[in-house]
Assembly symmetry: C5
Homo-oligomer: 129 residues x 5
Amino acid sequence: MNGLDEQMAPQTFLYGCLLEAGKEVIFNPEDDDLEHQLDLRMACVDLNTKDELHTVEVEGQDTEGQKVKAVLVSLKPSTLPSVCLGGFTITSPAIFRLKSGSGPIHLSGQHLVMMEADQSFDEEEDEEE
Amino acid sequence: MNGLDEQMAPQTFLYGCLLEAGKEVIFNPEDDDLEHQLDLRMACVDLNTKDELHTVEVEGQDTEGQKVKAVLVSLKPSTLPSVCLGGFTITSPAIFRLKSGSGPIHLSGQHLVMMEADQSFDEEEDEEE
Amino acid sequence: MNGLDEQMAPQTFLYGCLLEAGKEVIFNPEDDDLEHQLDLRMACVDLNTKDELHTVEVEGQDTEGQKVKAVLVSLKPSTLPSVCLGGFTITSPAIFRLKSGSGPIHLSGQHLVMMEADQSFDEEEDEEE
Amino acid sequence: MNGLDEQMAPQTFLYGCLLEAGKEVIFNPEDDDLEHQLDLRMACVDLNTKDELHTVEVEGQDTEGQKVKAVLVSLKPSTLPSVCLGGFTITSPAIFRLKSGSGPIHLSGQHLVMMEADQSFDEEEDEEE
Amino acid sequence: MNGLDEQMAPQTFLYGCLLEAGKEVIFNPEDDDLEHQLDLRMACVDLNTKDELHTVEVEGQDTEGQKVKAVLVSLKPSTLPSVCLGGFTITSPAIFRLKSGSGPIHLSGQHLVMMEADQSFDEEEDEEE
C-alpha cells in the first residue's frame, strides 16, 4: 500500500440490482484493505412490474452497531415509475428487499471503492460502546 | 482523542423513522465528544398509508437559537408516493411530526457522526447573542 | 475573530417560511461579521392550499448588482404537491413571493452562517463595475 | 489580482430566464479575467403555459470544441409542472431554446463567477486537437 | 504535462445523446493522458416519444472488471416525462440502450475531462485480481 495518498479520490464502478418479492439482495463485499460504499442514484420499475405500490427496504447498522431498517422509496408504475435517490449512501453490510409489491424493481448507482481513511476513529468508537 | 485528524470524513450510518399521527420522533443523540447530523434523503408513503395529503414538519433551531418549524414535504399515495429530499441537513436536536395526515410516512437518510470541528466558532456565536 | 480557520465549515440552521398571496418574505439577516446563505431544499403545498397552479418567485441580484427575478418552482396540489429544490443557493438580500396562486406554499432548507471568505474578491469586483 | 487565493470559492448570483417559442436565450458573459458558469437548479411552467409537452434544448460545446445540442428537460403543466435539474452545470457560451412547445418555461439557478483556475490545462488541450 | 496541479478541477463540457430502439450509444473516448467521465443529470422524453414505458439500461464494469448492466430510469410521457438523475457518474467505457420502449429518449449531463489522478491505485487493483 506504499505510495498511496490518503486523500485519494474513491474509484467509481457501476452498480445495479433487481429486487423481487421474497428475494434479498446483499451488499457485503469481502475485502481486507479497501472500504466499499454504494451511492444509490435511481430506483425504477420495469416493463413487467405489476401496477401496485412497491416499497423498498434497506437493512443496515445504526450508530450503536444495531440492525436498523429504513424504507428507501415507494414506486407505482402508473403514478411514479422512477425516483431519484440523490446519492443515498449505503455502507456495507446492507440488505435490500421489497417490503411490499412483487417487483421487479431496479436500483442503480455507484459502487465506490476507497482506502479505509478513518481506521483510528473506528477503533475508538468500538471502545466507547 | 489524540491522533485524530480535524479534516476526517464523518462516519455514515443508516437512519430511518416512521411518522404517524400524534407521535413525535425526536432526533437528539446524547454524546459528549461527537457531533451528530442527519442528511435526509427520502420521504415516502407505505402500503398502509391512507390516500390523503400528508405534510411532514420538522422543528429545530434558527440562527437566534429560537425554535423554528419548517414543512419538509407533502405526499399523497395516489399523486406522489415518494420524494427525494436531496440531502436535507438536520442538526440535533430536532423533532419530526405529521402536520396533516394519519400516516404512516417513512423518512430515511444518513446519520453522520463527526468530531466537533468548529467549537471556537460556537462559543463566539453565543457571546454575540 | 482570532483563532478562526478560513476553511471552517459553515454552521447549519433550519430555515422554513410560508408564502401567501400578497405577502413577501424577506431574507436579509443583518450581520456585521458573518455571511448568510440559504440552501433551499424543498417546496411543498399545505393541506389548505387551493388546487391551482402556484409559482414561487425569488428576487435577488445578478452579477451586475441589478435586481433580477427568477421563478423557483411551480406546484399544484393535485399534480405535484412537493418538489425537491436540490440545494438552490440564495444569497442575501432576497425576497420570496407567490407570482401566481393564493397559497400557502412552504419553502424549507438550511440557513448557513459562515465567515466572509472572499472579501478581497468582493472589493475588486466593485471597482470593476 | 494579487492576494487572491487560487482555491477561493466562486461568488454566487441569482440566475433566471424565460423561454418562449422562437426566442433564444444566450449565456455568454463577456469578461476578461473571470470564469462564468451556470448551475441550473429548476425548470418550471408558468400559469400562462399551454398544456402541451415542452422540451428545453441547450446548445454548448463538446470536448472537441464542436457545437453540441442536448435536451435538458420535458415539462407539461398537467403532468409535471416543475423539475429539479440538480445543479446541471452550463459553461459559457451556451444557448437555451424551446425545441417543442410554445412556452413560457422558466429556468433558474445560480450564476457562478470565479477566477480562471486551469488556464495552463486549457492551452494544452488546444494544442492537442 | 509539466506545471499541472494534481488537484486541478476537471473541465466540464456539455453531453447529450438520443436513445432509440435497437440503437446503442457508446461512451468510450479514446485518450492517452486524460480521464473521461459522465455526470448524467437528466433523462426525458421527446414530443415524438410513444406513450409507453421506456426503460434505459447502461452497461459498464463492476469492481471485478466484469460487465454489469443497470437500469437507470423508467419514463412514460403521460406519467413522468422527465427525471433528474442527480449526477449519476458513468466511467468509460459504457453503453446506453433502451431495454423497453421505442424512444426517442434524451440523456443529458456533463462530460468531465480530468488528469488521471489515481494511476498507482489502478495498477495495484489490477495486480490483486
